[in-house]
């Protein structure tokens, strides 16, 4: 739950934001560290028990190892590997070992598997820091500053994914005027809560029907509306979450990256991804697409790179075949768009083609959510009923 609980606001956000503004500059990072640790222990214990809470040790270990990072250092490679290994063990162990023993019971199955709170997001921040330290793109900062970066609780659980070189100057700067930051921050938080409570949760009444039983008995004409409802629900839910995170950070006087910029109704799939989960898209471009060669390699390789990036994106969203298919779907759309751009370099700006391209992009994105919100057999049933009857 977290952002839609009173305890988040009463025990963590308000006292932390007030304390942060009242203490001296030297103590500010440690205010974030103390409240961030408390936040992690409280919510991780609530979600995954004592073992979940003990995962705070991951942050402490990472902060110790990060002191060894320097430009061109092998310690940075260790940092990259350890962050991926941790994610692999906690998130993908049962998925990949399950693939190894596809036709039999999985003897390597981890029965008590759990996900440490926010692991998919803090892994990206650990990885980014190790990578950029190795490339000499960011300074080391003090231990307190780095801990404040990784334990900054408004963005710890589900982003927006920050960059150390952006965060550090804001941490070191004196927070801006209280009245402006708090008025805008609280407005943003309220807006996020409205999106969550009054839109996303309301649409759940429709999206709950996206299960095998209801799909079998429903009139097929209603199916597109259920999927459409999911498209709006996930937008309201995640952009609402991002609003609350960004508004919470604003109470500290810290601005974190935006995550959404009116993604639905964009002219093509590339523009959609530039406006949907922006901090993730930028991370994937900087740490997956560009290291693979980006757009500077032979044309067939560019298409392969796009597919790889979106497969990584799909796998990151969840350890399931349906997420891989969702990633593949978007990879194919991006590759198809790139091919179209090469055949027709000049976009047609006539209103009718523009409207059609916006509508087509919207329909294709909504269709993709089918693989995102249902497991593979259910998604196949959905599309079979929708298209064949």
């Amino acid at each position: 739950m977290i952002f839609n609980t009173f305890s988040y606001y009463l025990f963590f956000l308000l006292p932390a934001a007030v304390a942060y503004r009242l203490v001296s500059a030297r103590l500010r990072p440690w205010v974030i560290v103390c409240f961030g640790s408390g936040f992690f222990l409280y919510f991780a214990y609530g979600m995954a028990g004592i073992w979940g809470a003990l995962c705070l040790a991951i942050f402490l270990w990472e902060s110790v190892v990060s002191r060894l990072y320097s430009p061109s250092s092998r310690w940075c490679i260790l940092g990259l590997v350890q962050s991926l290994v941790l994610l692999g063990i906690f998130k993908y162990w049962n998925f990949f070992t399950g693939l190894l023993f596809y036709h039999a019971a999985n003897p390597l199955r981890w029965q008590g598997a759990f996900l440490p709170l926010g692991i998919s997001f803090f892994t990206f921040e650990f990885y980014h820091y190790a990578w950029d330290r190795r490339a000499g793109k960011t300074e080391q900062g003090t231990l307190g500053e780095y801990l404040a970066f990784i334990l900054f609780f408004p963005t710890m659980v589900a982003g927006p994914i920050k960059r150390y070189q952006d965060f550090l100057p804001k941490l070191r700067a004196t927070p801006g005027e209280w009245s402006q930051d708090w008025e805008r921050g609280i407005t943003r938080i309220l807006c996020g809560l409205v999106k969550k409570f009054a839109v996303a949760d309301l649409l759940t009444a429709w999206t709950n029907h996206l299960n095998a039983h209801d799909l079998l008995i429903a009139d097929r004409r209603i199916l597109p509306f259920w999927l459409l409802a999911y498209g709006f629900k996930i937008y309201a839910d995640f952009s609402g979450y991002s609003d609350i995170a960004i508004g919470s950070a604003r109470l500290f006087g810290i601005r974190v990256p935006e995550n959404f910029n009116w993604p639905y109704g964009r002219r093509n799939i590339q523009r959609f991804w530039q406006c949907w989960h922006i901090s993730l898209t930028r991370w994937l471009i900087d740490y997956v697409y560009i290291p693979l060669g980006g757009g500077r390699v032979a044309k067939p390789r560019i298409y392969v790179n796009l597919l790889i990036v979106m497969l990584v994106s799909g796998l990151w969203h969840g350890a399931g075949v349906n997420f891989l298919v969702w990633g593949l779907w978007h990879g194919l759309l991006l590759a198809g768009h790139r091919l179209w751009r090469e055949l027709r370099p000049e976009p047609n700006l006539h209103p009718v083609p523009v409207f059609l391209s916006r509508a087509l992009t919207f329909v294709l994105v909504i269709a993709g959510w089918g693989f995102f919100c249902m497991d593979m057999p259910t998604a196949m049933l959905f599309f079979r009923r929708l298209l064949i009857g």
Binding site: M1, I2, F3, N4, L115, S120, V157, A158, G159, Q180, E183, R184, G185, I186, T187, R188, I189, L190, C191, L193, V194, K196, F197, A198, D201, L202, T204, I234, D237, F238, G240, Y241, D243, G247, E258, W262, W316, H317, G318
Partner: protein, 58 residues
């Protein structure tokens, strides 16, 4: 027209700091109060059915 609507929504949603031209001055304070009251009423009306945020599980 659409651009005006967009910057107005972004302002009343807290995404931007600078109010659109027609909202500046005394109207601005009234609009901000109305937004807070409206938002709190909506949250109060719908908060009973709350569920977990989707991306918490990712």
């Amino acid at each position: 027209m659409l651009y005006q609507l967009r910057i107005t929504l972004e302002y009343i949603g807290g995404s931007t700091d600078i109010a659109p031209e027609f909202l500046r001055g005394r109207v601005d304070t009234a609009v901000r109060c109305a937004v807070w009251i409206g938002a709190i009423l909506l949250i109060y009306a719908f908060c009973g059915q709350s569920s977990k945020f989707i991306y918490i599980d990712f």
